[in-house]
Each structure stands twice: as C-alpha cells, then as structure tokens.
Amino acid sequence: MNFDLSDDAKTLKEAARKFLDARAGPPVARKVMDDGLTYDAALWAEVVEQGWPAARVPEAHGGLGLGADEACVLAEAMGRSLAPVPLLSTMAAIEAILLAGTDAQKAHWLPKLASGEAVGTIAWAGGDAKSPTAMPDLTLSGDTVSGVKSPVTDGLVATVAIVTVASADGPAMAIVSLDGVTREAVETLDLVRPSAKLHFEKTPAQALGTAADWVKLTEQLAVLAAWEALGTADAARDMTVAYAKDRVAFGQRIGRYQGVKHKLADMYILSELARAHALHGCWAWSAGAAELSQAAAAARVSSLDALKFTAEESVQLHGGIGFTWEHDCQFYYRRNRQIASSLGSRAHWADRLVRALEQRNRASA
C-alpha cells in the first residue's frame, strides 16, 4: 500500500513552500490589491523561472514532463500562499491542451505556456451556463466564436483562453487567442485574483477536443482546485491556531476554551478528510482510473467544505479584529468564494459524485 505522494512530489512541495513562504503570502496579495494590479509581475517572472508553468508540459514541448502529483503540490502551495500570479489558470489551460489538443495545437501552444510567454485560462461561465455542464450559449461557427464569457478568472491577464462552446453532445472546448479581444474588469468578491468579462466578436477560434474531453477536464481541474483549497484552508487554520495560542481573554489564552479549541479541531478534521479525497483524486488522475469521476467529485466537495468552514470560523475566532480590512482573514474568506464559484458549486459536484456511484453500482450489478 503506497497511498501517498511520490518522493519527487514531496521534494517539490517543500521547495515550493519555501519559495512562496519567502516571496508570497498575505502582504504580497495585499499589495496587488492596494495597488489595483491584476497580478505581481515580478513574482510571475520568478515563478516562470522556477519552471512551474512548465511542470506538466512534456519535455518535447519545452516542459519538465512531470505528473499529477507535482501539479497537485504546486496547486496546494499556491493556495496556501495566495500568490497573486496566474499560474493555476495557466496550468488549467495546459491540462486542456494536453488532454484534448491535436499535435499541432500542442506544438503551437505548450511551449509558449511553459515559458510564460503565454498566460492561459478557462472561460466557461457566462450567459445561461450556470454550471460547467450546462450548455453554453456560445457556438463555434466556422472558425470563430461570438458572445460573452464572464466571470473569467485571470481574464485580464490571460493571452489565451480555453472557451466552452455548445456542441451536440454538450459543452465542448475551443482554444482562443485573446489578442484583440475586448475585456472588461469584473468586480468580484476576490480582490486579489482578478476576473474579466470577455467579449468575443467573430474571434478566431479552433475546436479543442470533444464534449467528453471537457467533462474529463473538469474532473482533473476539480482535483487541482481541491489541492488549492486545501492549501488555503491550512494557511487560514494555521493563522487562527497561532492567534488562539496568543490572544488572552478572562485570564487565559483563548485556545484553552473548548468553544475555540473544538472549532479548530473541526477545521483539522474537515481538512484531513479533504486531504484523503484529494490524494485519491490525484491517484485516479495519475493512474487514468475510471474512479476519477467519483474521486474528483469527492475531492472538490470535501475541500470546499473544509475551506468554507475554516475561512468563516477563522474570522469568528479572531473576534472583531478578524473583521477589519487590515487583517488577513479577508483574503481567505474571499478566496473561499472564488474557489467555490469558479468550477461548479458544491451541489453540482455532490450530484456528480452520486451519479458516479450510481454508475458504478449499475456496472457491478
């Protein structure tokens, strides 16, 4: 039994943590917010230099050819550090192309994304598409798309987008260069990670894979998002535990009171359940296992639960100061909403989990 990250992934996890502890974190996120920036350009240059956008890109296309384990630990480290750079969006676009791209599309886009020359993102939400599996109202007609996608994570920074379009079998993908595309900033609850409204007007686009590919991509991205959420929850919990060990009320450190201590224990419990499912999702992705549908859904749902509880109760346990603009609680509280909203809701994924279980039961009947 070896239900654990690979040794290489663990090494990368430590290195990423060390780098981001020094170079990112709430103060860096706050600066981007205060200065009205869409990302931290200097940090992005360093992240590119670390090779992280290249992690999953095959060596043949200028990448490091790493696996799901490594992608997951990077997502976790990014989640923990709140690093204001479009790495996860770019990694998502890379996964889409790896999964569904033609050789020509891979050859064209992967090297650019690996080197940081191109910044990617996924644009699925907009119009009537309330969930990732609802039919989008954009279509790929001829070689172009027209219509609106909003909110698109990192849509102000990205240079290429994976856009969902309607197809006979459900949402499918198109790859669209954002050169010349009109973009508007969309105000969201997350003041660090920007979102945009993208206006496509007969914008050149190429079909990317099938409807089945989109479904599978959402599962892989659900696993990545689960690891990101885990990192974010861990950071919020660690901050709150530190506060509870320090703050005094009624002559005692507040961490001594069961009302406080038990909430922190519950944060830990939810996070460890989520971690188990996130590992399972990572395994299923890496092994190409049929269980991915069920594992990815469970990873997403459990990680959303952990992050929601942790982010909300972190504010609570800090008392009044947790509710101030100056305190860092807001970053986790807001990021929780961003992660929860950007890939389909908890309810959507809980339903997908049950569907996967029903399918499995039918198959073994």
């Binding site: 239900f3 990250l5 460890e272 971690r275 188990a276 990572c282 469970a298 459990s302 339903d351 279980l357």
Partner: protein, 405 residues
C-alpha cells in the same frame, strides 16, 4: 501511488486467505439470525482457539510473550481478510487489544507468563475496569480504593461501563492507592480475578436494548502485590498504555455496519411526495456527505497503512477516525429513517431499515465510548494543533483535600 501489497504482504495475504477459506466454514456467510450471548461466547472461544493454533493471534506481540513478532501490516492484512467473513468478534477486543498488552508491558514477567498464553488462546476473557460513576472522561478522579495489607491489597469501590464483565475471567483495574497525592499521582493498576470473593457484577441495560456492559462492585477484594502492574503510584502512566491501545481497538467503523450504499439502497425503494427519493437533491447531498466522511476515513486509514508498510509511524491524522465515524453513522441513520417516514419507526427483522435502526441506536453510544466526541476534539486540538490544555483546578491539590461542588 498504488494500493498494492508489497511482495511480503501479498505472500502473507495469500496464506491468510487460504487458511480462512479452509477454516472459516459457515462463517463465510452471514448468520441466519444473531447469536444468543452464550452461543456467541462459545463460538468466539472456538474461533480464537483455531486462530491461535494456526499462529494468527498476537500477531504483533513479541515472541517472548507468545506472539508472532510480526509487523502491524501483518495484523492489518489478517484483519482485512477476517473482516470479509462473519466470524464472531468483540469478545476479545478489550482483553487482547488493551488488557493483555498492559499486562505484558507493565506486569511481573512470571505473572504475565501465567495469563498471557491462556488469553491468547481465548480460554480467558478479560475486561477493563476503569470508568466509575463519578469518573468517565475524567479517569484520574476515580475513587475505588486499594489499601495495602501485608502482601495483599484490599480493594473497595465500584466500576461502571465494564464491557463483558459478566463473561470475564480476569480484568485490569485502576485504583487509588494514595489519597494524599494529587489525583494523577495516587493511582495504581492491578490484575484482578473476576471470580474472586467480593466481586459482584450487575448488568446495565443499554438504551439500544442489549446489555453488553456492567457495574462491578468491589467489597474487600484481595489482590496479591505480585499482580500489580507497574509501580505503586504509576497507575496513570499505565492507564495511558491501555488507552492508547483502546484508541486503536475502537477506532474503525464496526464491521458490516451500514454505509452510504445502504442509504442508496433504501432511497432507491422510496417514492416521496416530490418524486423518487434518489432524484431529490437533499437525498443526493446526504449520500455525498456520507460517502465523503466514511470513505474519507477509509482513505485516511490507508495513509496510515502506507506509513506502516514503510516501517514509519502513521501521522496524527488518524485521530480523526472515531469522531467522524460515530457522528456520520448517527446522521446517516437518522436521515434514512426520516426518509422512510412511518416505516422508519417499525422494526422489521432482517430488513435494511432494521440495520439502520440498530445503527441509529448504537451510534449514540459510539459517540461516547472509547473517548467522547468532546474529548477527542480536545485531543486533536491539544496534541495535534498544540493548543493549551483545559483549565484543571483540581490537578495539583492532594486528592483528599478536593472539595466536592
């Protein structure tokens, strides 16, 4: 990452599988009806003796005490294969899971040598005499007293929640031997013969209807000093050994307990006012919640197995198991009974609903036994997250000076 056995584990598993297939007999299928207590005891003894003769008991214990000297992974492999059957379990969990390890860790070797082999064979059943009416979670507040008289100790007091005391031959009992020391420092542990003069066992009926545990009254019960476990005054430290083993023994989900599949199965047969139950969002959410908790614990345990398989110590995440399992069991059962409306109330022997009703009743006890939900949260908060311990106004005062509230 993989879920495969190492070659050694796979080898052992093959052996175990073959032995079980050849020896489990009728236990390969579920029993037609639950066994009456005496039948359960007889069957348990017979199965234990069989396992003993084949070398499948005390798997991780040192050979010197009659064990197999193998690794935790071997024990786990055996447990996994045995759980696929319906053999009687539970009679020896406390004795072999908790009491006997305490005996061979802290007891006089000559005395241990008299008891350990018979316990391993299943000839003796052991119980753990810790909790008292005044002291459950607060074990260090116990009052049962042991007073030295020549070579013997004389025990007076009362224990409670003693599982299987009514079928036990021996027990380990923690007593107060120094009333002038602060509570944790005045305790000592002993082996006691459950058939000794002065011991009276009275069954307690559980809310769930059964009667697996007891009150045990001690009136001038004599125990030789050779049967002391650890030094005088070391009873707290010795108890911690026992409790550490208890967490391992009680932790997992009871075998064959209903899970999300049972909920799905029950829901599949129900038509609600707004359509088939399986098409309702609230039902689907609840199935998802149950899966996440139960499978999350299973996956967490696999992380522990991975560590053990490498010879490493499992991480602290294992501490979440019981606290999640017990409440999940209660919540799921409650939901399923709600969904079943009036039928959820009526008990129909052999039905899925009956399993859920049993689960509903039993889970209330499971949230308390082997560390309450609240104590377990304290343990997570304090030992894993490093938060300060609860305020203990009675910790350093001599026990005899503590004023009752």
């Amino acid at each position: 990452m993989d879920f495969n056995d190492t070659p050694q584990e796979a080898d052992y598993r093959q052996q175990v599988k073959a032995w079980i297939a050849a020896n489990a007999g009728a236990y390969l299928a579920p029993p037609a009806k639950p066994w009456a207590l005496d039948d359960f005891v007889a069957r348990s003894k017979a199965w234990q003796a069989k396992k003993h003769d084949a070398g499948y008991v005390g798997i991780t214990w040192p050979k010197a005490v009659g064990g197999q000297g193998l690794t935790p992974m071997h024990q786990i492999v055996f447990n996994q294969e045995e759980s696929r059957t319906h053999v009687p379990t539970g009679l020896y969990s406390i004795g072999l899971g908790m009491c006997i390890p305490t005996v061979f860790t802290h007891g006089n070797p000559k005395v241990a040598a008299r008891y350990v082999p018979k316990a391993l064979k299943g000839e003796d059943v052991w119980c753990q005499l810790f909790s008292e009416p005044v002291a459950g979670s607060d074990l260090a507040s116990i009052r049962t007293k042991a007073v030295k008289d020549g070579d013997e100790w004389v025990i007076n007091g009362q224990k409670v929640w003693t599982s299987f005391a009514h079928k036990s031959d021996f027990g380990i009992v923690v007593c107060r031997t120094d009333f002038d020391a602060p509570k944790h420092k005045g305790l000592t542990m002993f082996i006691v013969d459950m058939h000794a003069p002065g011991i009276e066992v009275r069954g307690i009926k559980q809310m769930s209807g059964g009667s697996d545990f007891n009150e045990v009254f001690f009136t001038d019960v004599r125990v030789n000093d050779t049967h002391r476990l650890g030094e005088i005054g070391d009873g707290w430290k010795v108890s911690l050994t026992t409790l550490m083993h208890e967490r391992l023994a009680v932790g997992g989900k009871p075998r064959h307990a209903p899970g999300y599949q049972t909920l799905m199965s029950v829901a599949a047969g129900i038509e609600t006012d707004t359509g088939p139950a399986m098409e309702r969002a609230d039902v689907r959410q609840r199935i998802a919640d149950t899966y996440i908790a139960d499978e999350g614990i299973k996956l967490t345990q696999m992380r522990a197995l991975s560590a053990l398989s490498r010879g490493a110590i499992p991480g602290p995440e294992q501490s979440i198991s019981k606290v999640v399992i017990a409440k999940t069991m209660q919540d799921m059962a409650s939901f399923a009974l709600d969904l079943s409306q009036a039928q959820g109330l009526a008990v129909e022997p052999g039905s899925d609903l009956e399993k859920l009703q049993g689960s509903y009743m039993w889970s209330a006890g499971l949230r308390i036994a082997g560390g309450t939900d609240e104590i377990l949260r304290n343990i997570i908060a304090e030992r894993v997250l490093g938060l300060p311990g609860d305020m203990r106004p009675d910790k350093d005062t001599p026990f005899s000076q503590l004023k009752p509230l």
